[in-house]
């Protein structure tokens, strides 16, 4: 299908992008990797007057270390994140979850920042970013600000990125040595997650000292399974099922063709148990 016509601009710096965004006002839409926006445009679910393509803003790409933090440019592709040695070493959960996004073609076009700002609750990257206590760097007309992941996802397809602002980077505190696993449940491989569980644990000699768990598609935003995290502290890594039984507490999952809310709540407990066990195993 053919989108409605729109004006296209491709700035080469964050400043120019912000200026273009300011000029477009409500009629502007930011294009990152295009894996969600282009289908939306092609199916005419949205018809912005101006599309601002960030593909030529070099400063938004790349992965680097900054002290105790890994900094990932918003326009870094999924493939780059999944295969980055830095990410694999210090934020293994994100690398593993990213490797599960869609299919190879999409992972070579789609970007971490784009996926996160799109904020589809069935997307795979909100949960690991939330679990890893990441910080989102947002640039706007008034300069730069940082928002914690827990405050970033505000509702279905809604984030803290305001009008005229851009997500420029994701800062992830190093979780070096933490075990990690992303348990994705789908019917066919390229599908959006029915439920996903992102788990990363710190274990010493078979005992879990700290666990962080994010849930995909269990509500209108990515969620933390806080009660499970608390219950796991001090538990043996070989016996986590009981501690994970509260994984669905406080969630509000959708019902659709893939299953109703009750089924998703059940899945969340089973998958959390599996994700934690796998994370503890490495």
């Amino acid at each position: 299908m053919i989108p409605s016509s729109f004006e296209y601009v491709a700035p080469t710096s964050v400043e120019d992008a912000l200026a273009a965004l300011a000029e477009a006002g409500d009629e502007g839409k930011v294009l990152a990797g295009g894996q969600s926006l282009l289908p939306v445009l092609r199916m005419r679910l949205n018809a912005p007057e101006k599309v601002i393509d960030l593909g030529r803003v070099e400063g938004l790409r790349g992965i680097r270390e900054d002290g105790d933090t890994i900094v990932i440019g918003a326009m870094t592709t999924h493939d780059e994140v999944a295969n980055s040695e830095l990410v694999k070493e210090h934020a293994a959960l994100l690398a593993k979850a990213t490797a599960e996004v869609a299919d190879p073609q999409i992972r070579h076009r789609g970007t971490l920042g784009g996926a996160i700002v799109h904020a589809d609750p069935a997307g795979d990257l909100g949960a690991p970013v939330l679990a890893l206590d990441a910080e989102m760097v947002i640039a706007g007309p008034g300069g730069e600000r940082t928002v914690a992941a827990k405050d970033f996802f505000t509702d279905l397809f809604e984030t803290a990125v305001g009008d005229g602002e851009l997500l420029t980077a994701i800062r992830i505190p190093k979780h070096t040595g933490w075990g990690a696993h992303y348990e994705k449940f789908v019917r066919v491989a390229h599908q959006w997650s029915i439920v996903g569980v992102a788990a990363t644990v710190k274990a010493d000699g078979g005992t879990i000292s700290e666990a962080k768990i994010g849930l995909t598609n269990m509500g209108s935003t990515p969620l933390r399974a806080a009660s499970v995290e608390a219950a796991l502290a001090g538990k043996s890594a070989s016996d986590v099922a009981d501690a994970c039984s509260s994984a669905a507490d406080g969630t509000n999952p959708p019902s659709d063709l893939n299953g109703d809310a009750d089924y998703r709540r059940h899945l969340a407990t089973v998958l959390t148990s599996r994700a934690v066990a796998a994370a503890a195993a490495g």
């Binding site: 299908m1 053919i2 019917r187 390229h190 299953g259 059940h266 089973v270």
Partner: protein
């Protein structure tokens, strides 16, 4: 393996795993897909479609669209007072069938979502699409009927003017036909001292989802109108354009250029084709319409959508004594080209490979406010095969024996071929014992049964199930006289011609219309062997009614067994025709010549002449016998003497995660008997693709409407097609019983994998959890459905092993009171 026919002596090309000569252009896309065609001054169409399933159009305002940039015209049905043709039903299954008129564009009554109410014509596809959004249509929404069982009640009518949703009732009864006993007696007796299995199975609605969206280009300039279109049936389309528009058939040329898949989904004559033709003729300019994927999922015909009520009678030891089938088929909003006939094809297939002494098949078709339903890979036979293969597993469970044992007890034995089935079909050849023995060996049947037992005993959360499907099918459509008896609107013959070019090259013209099957390669192999010419010297031409002027196209696994036989016969005519020329050139008697490896040799001498040399000599025509016309080209039309009956044994192992309900394929083995194989690589491709398509019905695919008749699965986000990432490596093999109804001994293979695999998968899933009292899971067997079945296991509803149909169940009523007439 015993009693398997010897393959014919090794020949040069037939049986060779050649890579397909057409693949480079098809895979790279550097070819003439319809949407690649661009003509000077060509205009572009966009359709305005009804969002409502059932509605009355009260007004259409096209003014804003007409005024948009680069828009040439906006038309509604009112702009074509003489009409624009019609989508025909070519197979009224009874004389009384209720068949609503299906015009390309809605005049007032919308019968399903996606029906076209207006068309925008513009200088670019983008401009047409933009302007389509400016067409303002007012609708008065009407209540919609969507489900076949609801339709049967006739409370909400899909077409109020018809007064009923019931389209036709068709019956085949073995006692009435004299091909078997009375099924009611068999069931009554089994209720007293035998086993009666009663089940209702649901064949969910599927979308063919071919890779290339449909596209049509029409050039009305000049004397003839030329239509390029993404179709399986260029010849049938040309005939029906002439028949429904009044255009002389001789003024219409239809070309199916390279076509990217069909699976039955492109054997329709479509509203979009008629509209593109009408617009191009009205404006006198070339016009193109290419659908979007969303339009394709919504408006190209769907498949399946049946309820199957089944009663199987057997003795206590598991010998089947009768089968009664009550089928309820949802036709959608219109009776498509063979829409009414597709479920009826099951009539000859529900008894499958078995010797059932009594049989009755009842089929009620109904109209609803949903997308029209027609052939989808297998067309009527997958549904039948699913039902009987599921039932045989149920019977085995009831008797308490292995599912293969119950099949062997009931199937036709090798030495009993040819065998006349209880529906009156003659199966020419087959060897179910050999295929099953080979499949068991490749599968490791006994080892997997042992593992299943072990997992069950240890309480493994991941249980193992083994599913069996011993299928046969009837394909190679079809003997023309049989079609005539069934009131089908055409014959079933196929045509071929061979041109011997002076340079030694050979052109083969086929009336079949490949859309991914590899006819160019397979036909080349056949002709290379037959005429003794190099494979690469054979060119296969197809899909253009001006070149392949005679044909009945490609569907129903007919191309090789019917069209291939026509090629064989045309080649044999060339050989006979060239012989007197060869004798003349060799100054020998015709009786002294023998033809071998492309050469006529004088017996007992080293004198001879090649057939391509004869071709050159007849081209020059300087020296030939007085009584002959110069030329050795020939054509042949072959009307099959019977259907083709491939069969096979498919074994599937499924792992069912009882904690999540997820089912994954552990192992899949199939051994198909498709007679003589022309190209094993093509067969392998057909079988692999077919398997995935059948497995997809079992596990993944379902077209779902909401209560208003809006297609919820309107994109590939929700219509979950599998990819390679979702399947495993299949183990495939063949046993061979040559067909006796054609020269090469071939049987059809295009649909075999799809027909066989669906019940194998579901049987395996049910087998994995049967010990918990579960005897059915509705397709697609999604994790949520499997998990729900596991949760309710042990409850009264599930534990009831032999549910009886409710007396008041509509489709279980006396068919004579629900029908419009009776078939056969």
């Amino acid at each position: 393996m015993t009693a398997v026919d010897e393959r014919p002596a090794e020949s040069a090309e037939i049986g060779k795993a050649r890579r397909r000569k057409e693949d480079q252009r098809l895979i790279t896309g550097r070819t003439k897909w319809t949407d690649n065609i661009v003509l000077p001054g060509m205009l572009h169409l966009a359709m305005v479609r009804s969002p409502f399933a059932h509605a009355k159009v009260t007004s259409i305002d096209t003014e804003a669209a007409k005024g948009a940039t680069n828009v040439v015209a906006v038309y509604t049905a009112a702009d074509f007072p003489d009409g624009m043709g019609a989508c025909a039903n070519a197979w009224p299954i009874t004389p009384e069938q209720v068949t609503p008129d299906h015009l390309p564009m809605v005049t007032e009554h919308v019968a399903c979502a996606g029906e076209i109410v207006a068309v925008v014509v513009a200088r670019s596809a983008a401009a047409a699409r933009d302007a389509a959004e400016l067409v303002d249509v007012d609708y008065e929404e009407l209540p919609a009927v969507l489900d076949a069982k609801e339709a049967l009640k006739d409370e909400v009518l899909a077409h109020p003017d018809k007064g009923t949703n019931k389209s036709a009732f068709w019956r085949l009864d073995s006692a009435e036909a004299g091909t078997g006993g009375s099924v009611d007696e068999a069931i009554a007796k089994a209720r007293e001292d035998g086993i009666v299995i009663e089940r209702e199975y649901r064949q969910q609605r599927l979308v063919p989802a071919f890779m290339e969206p449909r596209s049509t280009v029409v050039d009305p300039t000049g004397e003839q109108v030329t239509m390029w279109t993404s179709t399986q049936v260029p010849h049938i389309l040309r005939f029906l354009i002439a028949a429904t528009t009044g255009m002389p058939e001789s003024k219409i040329r239809v070309i199916a250029p390279d076509v990217g898949g069909g699976f039955g989904g492109k054997l329709q004559t479509t509203p979009e084709e008629f509209i593109t033709l009408a617009v191009a003729r009205k404006l006198g300019k070339p016009a193109k319409y290419t659908e979007t994927r969303s339009e394709s999922l919504l408006s190209a015909h769907h498949g399946r959508d049946q309820y199957q009520m089944l009663t199987l009678a057997a003795t206590k030891d598991g010998t089947v004594t009768g089968l009664k089938v009550d089928l309820l088929a949802n036709l959608g909003a219109y009776v498509a080209i063979v829409g009414g006939g597709v479920p009826v094809l099951g009539a000859w297939m529900f008894h499958a490979i078995y010797k059932f002494p009594a049989y009755q098949f009842n089929c009620q078709t109904v109209l609803t406010n949903t997308t029209w339903v027609d052939a989808y890979r297998g067309a009527g036979r997958p549904e039948a095969t699913f039902a009987i293969e599921r039932l045989m597993d149920e019977l085995a469970a009831e008797v308490g024996v292995d599912p293969l044992e119950i099949r062997e007890k009931n199937w036709i034995k090798h030495e009993e071929f040819p065998f006349v089935s209880v529906s009156g079909m003659t199966y020419d050849s087959g060897n179910y014992e050999a295929a099953t023995a080979r499949a068991k060996e490749l599968f490791g049947y006994d080892e997997l049964r042992a593992e299943q037992k072990q997992r069950r005993q240890s309480g493994d959360p991941v249980q193992l199930g083994i599913g069996v499907s011993t299928f046969t099918e009837m394909c190679g459509l079809a003997p023309s006289r049989v079609l005539g008896q069934l009131s089908y609107g055409a014959g079933g013959w196929e045509s071929a011609a061979i041109r011997m070019l002076p340079t030694g090259k050979v052109e083969v013209i086929t009336g079949t219309s490949p859309h991914g099957q590899g006819h160019e390669t397979a036909w080349s192999q056949i002709v290379a062997d037959r005429l003794g010419v190099p494979f690469d010297d054979v060119e296969v031409l197809h899909g253009d009614t001006a070149i392949a002027y005679k044909g009945l196209d490609t569907y129903g696994s007919r191309s090789l067994v019917v069209g291939g036989e026509a090629v064989v016969r045309a080649a044999d005519k060339v050989i006979e025709k060239a012989k007197p020329f060869a004798a003349h050139l060799l100054e020998a008697s015709v009786d002294d010549l023998e033809f071998k490896d492309g050469r006529y040799a004088v017996k007992g001498t080293d004198k001879g002449v090649g057939i391509t040399e004869v071709a050159l000599a007849t081209f020059a025509s300087h020296n030939y016998p007085d009584h002959l016309e110069p030329g050795i080209d020939a054509d042949a039309t072959y009307d099959p003497v019977d259907f083709s009956f491939p069969h096979g044994t498919h074994l599937c192992a499924m792992e069912v995660d009882t904690e999540t309900g997820a089912s994954t394929i552990r192992k899949y083995v199939c051994v198909d008997d498709i007679g003589q194989v022309i190209n094993p690589l093509i067969v392998e491709g057909q079988v692999h693709g077919g398997l995935v398509q059948g497995i997809a019905q079992a596990l993944w695919e379902e077209a779902v409407y909401d209560d208003n008749g809006t297609l919820v699965t309107g994109s590939f986000v929700d219509y979950t097609l599998p990819t390679t990432a979702d399947t495993i490596n299949f183990v495939t093999d063949n046993t061979t019983s040559l067909a006796t109804t054609n020269t090469l001994g071939t049987k059809g293979v295009g649909e075999a994998g799809t027909i066989a695999s669906t019940p194998a998968v579901v049987n395996a899933i049910v087998d994995a959890v049967r010990d918990r009292g579960i005897h059915d899971i509705q397709m697609p067997c999604t994790p949520a459905r499997v998990w729900a079945a596991l949760q309710s296991a042990g409850s009264a509803e599930v534990a009831q092993a032999q549910p009886h149909f409710h007396e008041e169940a509509a489709n279980n009523a006396d068919p004579g009171t629900t029908g419009e007439g009776s078939g056969s």
